[in-house]
Amino acid sequence: MNLALSDEELAFRDELRTIYTTQIPAEIRERIRTGAELTREDWVTSQRTLNAHGLAVPNWPVEWGGKDWTPTQRHIWLDEMQLASVPEPLTFNASMIGPVIAQFGSQEMKERFLAPTANLDIWWCQGFSEPEAGSDLASLRTTAVRDGDEYVVNGQKTWTTLAQYADWIFALVRTDPDAPKKQAGISMLLVDMQTPGVSVRPIKLIDGGYEVNEVFFSDVRVPADQLVGEENQGWSYAKFLLGNERTGITGVGRTKVRLAVAKERAEQVRTASGTLLDDPLFAARFAEIENELIALELTQMRVVSGPVNGKPNPASSVLKLRGSELQQAATELLVDIAGPDSLPLRAGDDIASPRWAQRSAPTYLNYRKVSIYGGSNEVQRSIISSTILGL
């Protein structure tokens, strides 16, 4: 047993730290640190800079821009990025469709899509969930019917994150309505958002923002060479993709930064006997969340450094569950620190309530999403109880 990083790993970490803190524009990192919104251009600038340094898609095959890193190196890459408040490469590109195309796509598809996907020249969105297919994703109804060299797609997707920015969508569609199991009749199609018949309708969320959408398909004609892999194999590609999503969702580094910011804020709130940080009840709550985060980080390190035997470490299922809960705990803490200053919404700099406090309630409300997406926490518990505990 050994808790320390090796000298090589420490040098690797320092090298990344330097790139992150000197190459990514400071104002973008400050927006991430304080939880302000990023523009589409911010995301693109950051990912292109990372890509120029070979740091956008290390999880891909080397041939397509990936790195032959150890799990520990990959962990350091992501953790340092989060600690430096660098926007992560767009998950739909880097963690979802990129690895799927690299693994299952044709050579032609790889050549056409992978480089622009890594560089965020194409912005992807994810067309999975439907109004009647949430956690029960396999019951999706959007259909694709083969007609010559094309598929004709009809149906509706929902909760499509940042579809308003997207150039392309990767969508799960039903190609065999008669398959004996509903999972067996699903395929994955790549669809240009500009194709006639695709329309996007924003869903306004409780925080007042637009980040998710409904996407409608009405007789959308999609060239058959935009089918990923084989017809009716889409479910296995989706499972591959969602497996990648869960491990990236932990967010220990992000939550650490958020807690550090919360600590700064709490030190500025005056109470009858000092500042909020001196309040024993508040301090105990804060210390407890920090401790839970350390326990999660160590669990993540166990998973990352564990023996590689082809089987995922069972403890990895803990990561999404606890990671999302602690992200929520941190946003909850911030809105409680803001207190009455959390009431004004987007009232600008002309009032006494600071910007961060005005953002705290929307962020708190928005972050209720993290225990719902990426496989809801109830689904994670079901995975633990069935695959680990054998229940």
Binding site: M1, N2, L3, A4, L5, E9, T72, L83, K256, V257, L259, A260, K263, E264, E267, L277, P280, A283, A284, F286, A287, E288, E290, N291, E292, L293, I294, A295, L296, E297, L298, T299, M301, R302, V304, S305, G306, P307, A315, V318, L321, R322, E378, Q380, R381, S382, I384, S385, S386, I388, L389, G390, L391
Partner: protein, 376 residues
């Protein structure tokens, strides 16, 4: 970074696990715990035979020179089987102090017998009215023409009822806290032995002008050594708790699979399986923190903050897993005959030894201003 046991450590773990599994099932443990001694000299002999009592001592003191990782591996197995043998109370904790503070002569005279299982030690430190972390020592050490004497009251002393030789902390005339060796049969020693709620044993020890031998020759302030021993003991207790939690969860999942109600196994009810998943999460978080503390101690980093991190997480996890284990068993979980309740009792006792969860959370919350970003 490496969180795994190496092959020798795995062998040690497996040896301990097998020995204790052969020695105890729930019924046998209940029988042994009900005896006057509360543990088995026969099992003790076997533990000594395979070298488990010699584990932590240097080779020149008759030991095996093993470190915190090995101790943690063994204690996890003790917790898993709920073995009542006082490895921590009678060997590791007091023996570690003798190894740390004792003279070469004292170590050579005492430790080989401890490693062989023939001498039982105890560490008498805690006193009525004081609790961790403010373990004020009011037992007084005084010097007369014949040497040193001790007067005071120690309680609770883990397995102080059966010890042959007691390591006692006492306030020195010129300040500081010294450590002394007291023969349990010496004049002026009065022991009031008792069972603890987890089936183990303890004692109140009253000392009235008892002859005592300073540990380390001349008595000096040993507070730093006591603090270090405290962290090592906290680490061992955390390891034991992980073993106990693992078994409590295993018993509970077995029960959910086999117990039928409404014509189906309890595992058919999601309200139970979702909660069992949360117990697993608690277990893994506790395991991670225990490994952290273990590795820190193994690296010579005896840091009360690290110990507090582990004690807080393990305290929380133990309450969660313990209470849910009983609840999911229903009434059977409360019976003496069925093991799960005994695990909960032991976990509760561990939490209240060397600082409860709230005490350790206080350690952490009082240091928030020392750093911006939390790191391990």
């Amino acid at each position: 970074m490496d969180f795994e046991l190496d092959s020798e450590q795995q062998l040690l773990r497996d040896t301990t696990r097998d020995l204790l599994a052969r020695s105890y099932d729930a019924e046998k443990r209940n029988q042994v715990v009900a005896t006057d001694l509360g543990w088995s000299r026969e099992v003790w002999g076997k533990l000594a035979e395979v070298g488990l009592l010699a584990l932590a001592f240097d080779e020149e003191d008759g030991g095996m020179g093993a470190g915190a990782v090995e101790i943690s591996a063994v204690l996890t197995e003790v917790g898993r089987r709920l073995a009542p043998e006082p490895i921590l109370d009678c060997v590791l904790a007091p023996g570690g102090l003798i190894a740390d503070v004792g003279t070469v002569e004292q170590r050579g005279r005492i430790l080989p017998g401890v490693a062989e299982g023939t001498t039982l030690l105890a560490f008498a430190h805690q006193e009525p009215g004081s609790r961790w972390p403010a373990l004020d020592v009011s037992t007084k050490a005084g010097r007369d023409a014949q040497g040193w004497t001790l007067t005071g009251r120690k309680n609770p002393v883990g397995h102080g009822d059966c010890a042959d030789l007691i390591v006692v902390s006492a306030a020195l005339p010129d300040g500081g806290v010294g450590l002394f060796l007291v023969d349990a049969g010496a004049d002026g020693v009065r022991r009031h032995g008792y069972s603890t709620h987890d089936g183990l044993r303890g004692a109140q020890i009253d000392l009235d002008g008892v002859r005592a031998e300073p540990l380390g020759g001349e008595p000096v302030d040993t507070s730093a050594h006591i603090d270090a021993a405290t962290i090592r003991t906290q680490a061992a207790l955390c390891a034991e708790a992980v073993g106990a939690m693992e078994e409590a969860l295993r018993l509970t999942t077995e029960y959910l699979k086999t117990r039928k109600q409404f014509g189906v196994p309890l595992a058919k009810f999601q309200t139970l399986t979702q909660r069992a998943a949360d117990m697993y999460v608690s277990l893994e978080l506790a395991r991670s923190m225990n490994l952290y503390l273990t590795m820190s101690v193994a690296d010579g980093r005896l840091d009360p903050v690290v110990a507090a991190r582990a004690k807080v997480q393990i305290g929380r996890s133990a309450r969660h897993i313990g209470q849910e284990s009983i609840q999911m068993h229903g009434g059977i979980g409360l019976t003496d005959e069925y093991p799960v309740g005994h695990y909960v009792s032991r976990l509760t006792a561990i939490e209240h030894t060397l600082g409860g969860t709230a005490d350790h959370l206080q350690v952490l919350s009082s240091r928030l201003r020392d750093y911006s970003l939390v790191e391990f």
